[in-house]
């Protein structure tokens, strides 16, 4: 089933880090969709920047990021308790010379209301991240240092 062209090529660094990034994002959105504000914020660097909406100030630091999640939960979610699910897809990972990873991907938010099987879908977004990579007992540990979200309907 394998072919010479595939097996003779050295495994690129990308193949080692790409699935890690996918797993990292899955864990990150699980915290977000479960309103685990502290845990979500801890997936950013201490000085992490979350530029989540044009026209508003970016969130800077874990406290601000956690606060935004809690604020959403206490206002919009309290008034309209939907189950949010963040889907990321079409991921590109670009290792940088300084050891960080720049990533680009599409994102989509799904909102499910109790009793309604069809989720409300949107917005569709384009996201750019800078991730830091540190060695933790031989495992790469990823953190988001910078995130910029651009919603397709606002561009």
């Amino acid at each position: 089933m394998t072919s010479p062209a595939v097996t003779s090529a050295p495994t690129p660094a990308l193949a080692g880090i790409y699935p890690r990034v996918q797993q990292f994002y899955a864990a990150q959105v699980r915290h977000l969709d479960g309103f685990r504000a502290e845990e979500f914020a801890a997936t950013f660097t201490e000085d992490g920047v979350f530029d989540h909406r044009p026209g508003t100030e970016p969130l800077v630091g874990r406290e601000a990021i956690a606060g935004a999640v809690l604020g959403y939960q206490r206002t919009r979610h309290a008034a309209d308790p939907v189950q949010r699910r963040h889907w990321f897809n079409m991921l590109e990972v670009f290792p940088q010379d300084d050891g960080t990873l720049r990533t680009e991907y599409y994102a989509l938010v799904l909102h499910t209301r109790p009793g309604t099987p069809e989720p409300q879908i949107g917005p569709s977004c384009f996201v750019t991240d800078i991730l830091t990579v540190t060695d933790e007992d031989g495992e790469p540990r990823l953190l988001t240092k910078f995130r910029r979200v651009r919603q397709d309907h606002l561009v």
Copy 2:
């Protein structure tokens, strides 16, 4: 294009198994969406458990799982022949000490009716699996030993 931080880190076991799990799920849903009931059931272990809906008995064993697929095909699909597509995303893979893999992921079902380009979408689900991993001629072979599906609108 590669960076010291990325290339110096040893390739973790996760990077080897994560794409395998993605490929496994793609093959599994292809069988399901094509009503290949026996082939779909064969992606579960002999004693596989499919807890697909709260309030109903879990399906146990391949015969029961295949029977559920055929039952769906002969009733709901026969009455309303849609093309179903199961989408999984935001996958986390957790290797366990006993050699199995626990996974968590989001799932979404799309239904396309003949002549209608826009699919009906839903439900949105959260799924937990236990996968077994066996060596088959040097290739890891995956099977679903346990699956629990929770639909977001029923939680």
Copy 3:
């Protein structure tokens, strides 16, 4: 966190190429969704075939493929400027004896109109590709040699 069953299995060739295919598709759709017609066409081989719709002639070669993207942009997009996003998922990669990769995956097109957060979604498609793999300074370089798209509502 790792298990004997996982770490003792040799890393299969699939684990090295699968993330590369995902990254390749992400870059390819980014060109398509950004109307970078030449760059999109350059992700196909010189003699690449794009069988994008039953009942129409397949596009053959980069010029024809780029022309189709520009044609879409100048007519449908000019009349109705939506942001398209192509999502691929549930990818299977099958290395072939001749060194190419056959792939199968689901695809979904999302269209976002300015000011409207909810995208229009569809059609849902099933896609089969043949990708060529060449060595480029030790990195596998992928190109689409053949693509067949089947829209679920037209089958």
